[in-house]
């Protein structure tokens, strides 16, 4: 082992990688063991994208300052008409303008 890798840390990283991969393949392993997917489980799985992605957005909106709230709201309106890159640019411009232009 050279000084770029320490044994303890490297082992810990590999253990973290295995734990993470287990979550990434776990749902597949469980679902392919079922002969038939019950309708309620299917409905639950269909809700996964909206449910999980919302949890990655809502707390940021809640905890963010007023400039973050305004930028996210503005990006949402832009996103109803334009693509994601435009949305990102719009939100970024608003937050920068409020922070550096308006001094928030």
């Amino acid at each position: 082992m050279d000084t770029r890798f320490h044994l303890d840390m490297t082992l810990l990283i590999f253990a973290a990688a295995v734990a993470t991969f287990a979550t990434r393949i776990g749902g597949y392993v469980l679902i392919t063991r079922m002969k038939k997917i019950p309708p309620r489980l299917d409905a639950a799985l269909n809700a996964v994208p909206a449910a999980v992605l919302t949890t990655l957005v809502a707390p940021n909106f809640y905890a963010g300052g007023p400039e973050v709230k305004i930028a996210m709201a503005f990006a949402l309106v832009v996103g109803l008409r334009f693509n994601v890159l435009t949305m990102l640019a719009a939100g970024w411009v608003v937050v920068m303008a409020l922070r550096h232009g308006a001094g928030w």
């Binding site: 993470t20 979550t23 409905a43 809700a47 994208p49």
Partner: protein, 234 residues
Amino acid sequence: MSSSDFRAGLRTGLPIVLSAAPFGALFGAVAVQNGQTWAEAALMSATVYAGASQLVGLELFGHHVQPWLVILSIFAVNFRHILYSAALTKYITHFTPFQKFFAFFVLTDPQFAESVKRGETGHTVSFAWYAGVGLIIYLPWLAVTILGAFLGNLIHDPKVIGLDVLLPIYFLGLVFGFRKRDNFIPVALVAAVGSVLAYRYIGSPWHVSVGALAGVLVAACLPVRETADASEEA
């Protein structure tokens, strides 16, 4: 492998790279400050490849928490991927075992959301397309981790250059891509309230699992549309 599908995948991945790159660099910078070498930070980005859990892991390494607790915390932060892999399965049944292994290894939040979006708009989620999205996120993630480890002090505060809003806005765009689905409003509403409450009263990163489970449970409890004789399974 269809090269036009591969290129379509690269195009899909582009906005993801732009919004996730600052966090890869942030991870690299924080890693070095928390006692990892640049090579260890790169190894972690290459093998764990899940930004939020990598940052949680660093935080705990820095506090000398027992190793098993670090691993358990990383598992908890990544718990949502169990839901992802279960929900993704029906779109990738045609993959070979090796392709599935690769597919699950690179299964991140945006990879999942874009794949479901493509699958339900009538396209086949081909391996070429999936690999295009995966590679254009994975390789830059690794590169910016290393960059961040070396230039760490330059991005001490991502807020000053407005980087902190990029990822939430990107995810916001993804959420609204699913607004035509059954039960979208109740699911998103409950997940939002659940995650904010958990964020406030339990703390990050548990808000993700708590909010997501709340939203998914609502969908499971609401009336099922197609089948009238939906028998209660649980």
